[in-house]
Symmetry: C2
Subunit: 198 residues, 2 copies
């Protein structure tokens, strides 16, 4: 590859370090940007240099924000006694499209010993402290329904038991539009166990 100028090689290398982008895709992306006007790679480059600039975590919910507290935590019309615990900031964005009107707590990850993620790596301490203030009525645990998410949910439950009146977990069951024929057995079992009277 020494045929290509070093900045092209470097771009290919940096792209191929990203998750889901192999060496071939990295080449394709680099040459796409090479063929486009100079403004394109410059814009993406500048945006990446700015990415972590002045980012803070909300002192309340640990959401990524530019202020000390995020817009949701500062909003007096929200129900501050209900805390929805999520793994990632993007999940806050997802729940904001629903009619949920409580507040959030972003863990920034899940328990995963294999990736070196213990309770200290997550914003777990901050959650326990928030719960201890006694103003919280309900903590809804909305970690993903996978092994790490379930383990994290159990851990949070153990940590908060006794300090919060109500600890709940998102319902498991069939997603809307799913085909029962193709649903896996764990989902079907959960859907049966969680059935509701009409």
């Amino acid at each position: 590859m020494s045929l290509l100028p070093p900045q092209i090689q470097r771009t290919i290398e940096e792209f191929s370090k990203l998750p889901g982008i192999g060496p071939k895709s990295a080449e394709r992306l680099t040459f796409h940007l090479l063929r486009s006007s100079k403004a394109r790679p410059d814009r993406l480059g500048q945006t990446l240099l700015d990415l972590k600039h002045e980012l803070k975590y909300c002192t309340q919910c640990q959401m990524i924000t530019l202020q000390d507290e995020c817009a949701i935590c500062l909003d007096p019309s929200r129900d501050h006694a209900t805390i929805l615990v999520v793994e990632d900031p993007l999940e806050v964005v997802a729940f904001e499209k629903t009619s949920y009107r409580g507040v959030y707590h972003v863990l920034h990850g899940v328990l995963s010993p294999i990736d070196g993620m213990g309770p200290e790596q997550l914003r777990m301490k901050e959650l326990v402290e928030r719960a201890k203030t006694g103003t919280t009525n309900e903590v809804i645990i909305a970690t993903n329904p996978d092994v790490e998410g379930e383990a994290t949910a159990s851990y949070i439950h153990l940590q908060l038991e006794g300090t919060v009146p109500k600890i709940t977990r998102l319902a498991h069951g069939l997603p809307m539009g799913a085909d029962i024929e193709f649903a896996d057995q764990v989902t079907l079992r959960e859907a049966l166990a969680g059935r509701r009277s009409l």
Copy 2:
């Protein structure tokens, strides 16, 4: 999405403009870089800002280079009477892994009226001028075996006919390691037509 700080949104937008990267992948890439150390997005950002810096096209073969002429065109040990015509600089890299010892001509694209790519958008004029100098013995057309590549090959053939003693096209046929059972009929027909005596 106004919940996320503007630089995060901008990064997601810029990533999703790249080919093969949808909005979900763009979010995943952005949050991957957010979670990593500050050096990671900075390195990719700086590399993109440098990408087009000081890049030139070789005055002979139109390969991307930092000098006026590329290392291959400057090499006196190469066969300068044989020109291999490719679509892209990456294809030069691919052929350099073979035992090919001639020189190249990079078109920087193929004829594709639907994408607004006519002969003027390609480095076609430069190829015709090189051929006219009379020092060229053979032009090997190595555009891809697809509709645009075949059309481009025919066009080059028409342009160079009479000025170059020999115009050839890469062989079509079964790729090494292929399974005849699964080969498409066009490839099989080409493989039959191009059969060689042993």
